[in-house]
Amino acid sequence: MLFTWSLHLSLAALLLGLAYKLWSWPRIDIGPACRDIPPLRRLRAGAGGFGRALLSRRGGAMLWALVRDGLFQARSRTHSPLAWIAHLLMFWGMMGLIFLHALGPVLIPDFTATLNPWLFLRDLGGLMLLAGVALVIFRRRKLPLLGRVTRWPDRLALGLLALLVLSGFGLQGLKITSAASYQRMVEEYGLLDEAPDRRALAVYWQEHYGVVFPSGQAAPTPELMARGEELNAESCLDCHARPQWAFASWPLSRALAPLARLGGGALAEQALWHLHYLAAFLALALLPFTKFLHLFTGPLLLMARAGRPRESLSPASLALLRALELDVCTRCGACSAHCSVAPALRHVPNLALLPSEKLAALKALVQRPRPESEAAQATRQGAYICTSCLRCTRLCPVGIDLQDLWLALKEELAALGLGPTTLAVGSQAHAQAEAQRSQEPVVPKANGFQQGLLHSAQADTFRACYCCTTCSVACPVVAQHEEPMKALDLLPHQIMHSLGLGMAQEAMGARMTWHCLTCYRCQEACPMGVRVTDILYELRNLAARDQGQGEAV
């Protein structure tokens, strides 16, 4: 009763959740181009395009993608063979268990879970799933970067799976020892009328099937055993293979035998039974809102991308696809583990630098845009530190086009008034310098500023500058402007001179500092060996640090 109810309840929750997802995807706007497209049109365009592609010449490629990247997860292999093996174990283990628990009894006539190969396969599936979960936990613990991106949804998913398998094994182990289960079977199928026969079979099952009778049974005499074997062959073998075939639950049942002997077996079995089904139903009900959703969305995306190239998608289909991609991500961390700029994380402690975290940040940004928040600033930093190297896109096991999402993220940020980080830091430094100038006359300060320049050993080479203007004459940025002083505030030689006077704010805020091409013509030309370009680089760094946008000190 409880079982049926909770099964139906969790199935209903599953369907409701999926319906909610289907409702929400066409309502997520990523990139300004899709703003005005009504949700229904997005759904129609997406589904229609998918269907047409499936029926077109691309259909074969789509099915092949489903097999290669879905069933065999070929894309995972490129990023990490260990991760690939772990995921294959989990996937095939889980598929096997779903088949044996839900589909087998429906599809296969006379399906009997206690007969081989099912008895064996069930333990195999469970063990594969468990091994996969263990490998994933191992990787997440061993690789520091993966550890840092592991959050509660990852723990929840792994925990549920582990609970499911362990309670399943425990349940199976206790069942093997259970005298009550044995009694029930005897009453249902045994047709044993006489007491000696009952005793013979019980002894036989005690010896060969591992049943533990709390009150104990008679000694296994050869006669009893012979009669037991006969009865077993007559009444049991058709429906029950030897439990040793359940190669994982069997040793567990031996370990649990003392518990059964003390009479605690039934209670423990009850508890584990509840735990097992609770975990299964919870996973089912929560599926649309956990990582498990990728069981549905992953194959869909893999097929969609094989069906039509992204460039040919209409804005409506693209919007739907992008929204789907936000939900496909399982935070497996493949992208982050290989990210080109991940080393920056050490000095720029912002997890949004990593693709997997940036994707989550993008999701948050489009759902609740708050440009003033710290999160939005961090997202901006992540978006602009990215070098668009394409590696995450190439590696993503479910085939998310992250490169495209990053472009969309920049568009979203721009719409919120959040431009490139360097631009923002430069503008603020400029504004600060202006404000300072308007308040008080600029006076040279003591040369305390020199301590601020740390990066290159001879950063304070600016002291050698005697304002010969060679650098400013060589500078192509200066040459580009008719009135360079108006456009750039200070010319390179003036910046060097300002530094000599300790006027850091002026130097950092000069637009010249931010429009520098880093072409090194100034530095190459300087007769005094002033490292003009290197110093301009350092000024940008210092401004970022002053504004809390740079590296942690």
Binding site: S388, P476, Y520, E524, G550
Partner: protein, 290 residues
């Protein structure tokens, strides 16, 4: 001859033709390029995140070192950036020690053992012009080429140690051995504008447009490029300009390995000529008829 190939971040997504042509030509010349998963060279990080820049660059060189290979890159900015990191670590031993402590966590170490080369250096210094000349079986005829030396390969010359910074000639020499004629023009040492594209599009575009029109004024048919950033800039300028003014600018940007490859007898598909913007197939008309 074996090198670790440092593609950098821009080529895979934005200039795949450069990768195709480079791999093809190098294979033809018997140079083995080993793929290593490198991080960013640090170049874009340097504006705001100096320590990250050093770590990224040192990590790249350490990865190369760990494989016992010298590192070769087709990107001038990666080249310049890595050489600059090397110089920083040489002049600041305490910085080098700190970076090495960070690298040690992943079992890496930077000692400076691996050289950092641009592919042009491999062609010019390692293989040598005479050897290359022997491989040129189909020299161009009547092709005038403007060479963009760019910035980070040549300057700061004390650090990059590539060519004479005031009168560089190495790329001209490499171009002339393909049969093309290098033409001198005003902007050959100037910047393509890529570094400020994010912060100042107007200035960035003006820089590359100037290079293109200077080259056209000097009578060049093509602009020879050996850096993904400059190629991206030139292709951007063409895309924005539309078909009419395109002709006014110049024929188009060509990546040096494409030029060399064609003169070595490789086919247009092997060098991905159609992926250039505008397509570089017009180069074929400057090849002698077979």
């Amino acid at each position: 001859m074996r090198f670790a190939l440092f593609l950098g971040c821009k080529i895979p997504a934005y200039v795949p033709h450069y990768e195709i042509a480079t791999r093809r030509v190098m294979a033809e010349l018997g140079v083995e390029l080993v793929d290593v998963e490198f991080p960013c060279c640090g170049y874009p990080l340097r504006h705001l995140y100096f320590r990250s820049y050093l770590l990224a660059g040192a990590r790249a060189m350490a990865l190369s070192e760990a494989r016992g290979l010298d590192l070769v890159t087709p990107c001038k900015c990666c080249f310049g950036s890595l050489q600059r990191v090397r110089a920083f670590l040489e002049e600041r031993p305490e910085l080098r020690e700190e970076i090495n402590q960070e690298l040690a966590e992943e079992g890496l170490a930077y000692t400076g053992a691996a050289r950092v080369l641009h592919i042009l250096q491999v062609l010019h210094d390692e293989l040598g012009a005479p050897a290359l000349r022997e491989r040129v079986v189909r020299p161009f005829e009547g092709l005038d080429a403007a060479v963009l030396y760019g910035c980070h390969l040549v300057r700061p010359s004390k650090i990059t140690r590539f060519d004479d910074p005031a009168r560089p000639h190495i790329i001209d020499q490499l171009v002339s051995l393909t049969g093309a004629r290098p033409v001198p023009y005003a902007g050959r040492l100037n910047c393509c504008g890529a570094p400020v594209r994010e912060r100042n599009e107007e200035l960035s575009l003006a820089m590359i447009r100037d290079r293109l029109s200077e080259a056209r004024d000097a009578g060049a048919h093509i602009l020879v490029i050996a850096c993904p950033y400059s190629q991206m800039q030139a292709e951007w300028a063409y895309t924005l300009a539309g078909p009419e003014p395109q002709r006014e600018l110049i024929q188009g940007p060509v990546l040096y390995p494409q030029l060399l490859g064609l003169s070595m007898g490789l086919g247009p598909d092997e060098l991905a000529l159609t992926q250039n913007i505008p397509s570089a197939e017009y180069l074929l008309s400057f090849l002698p008829r077979p």
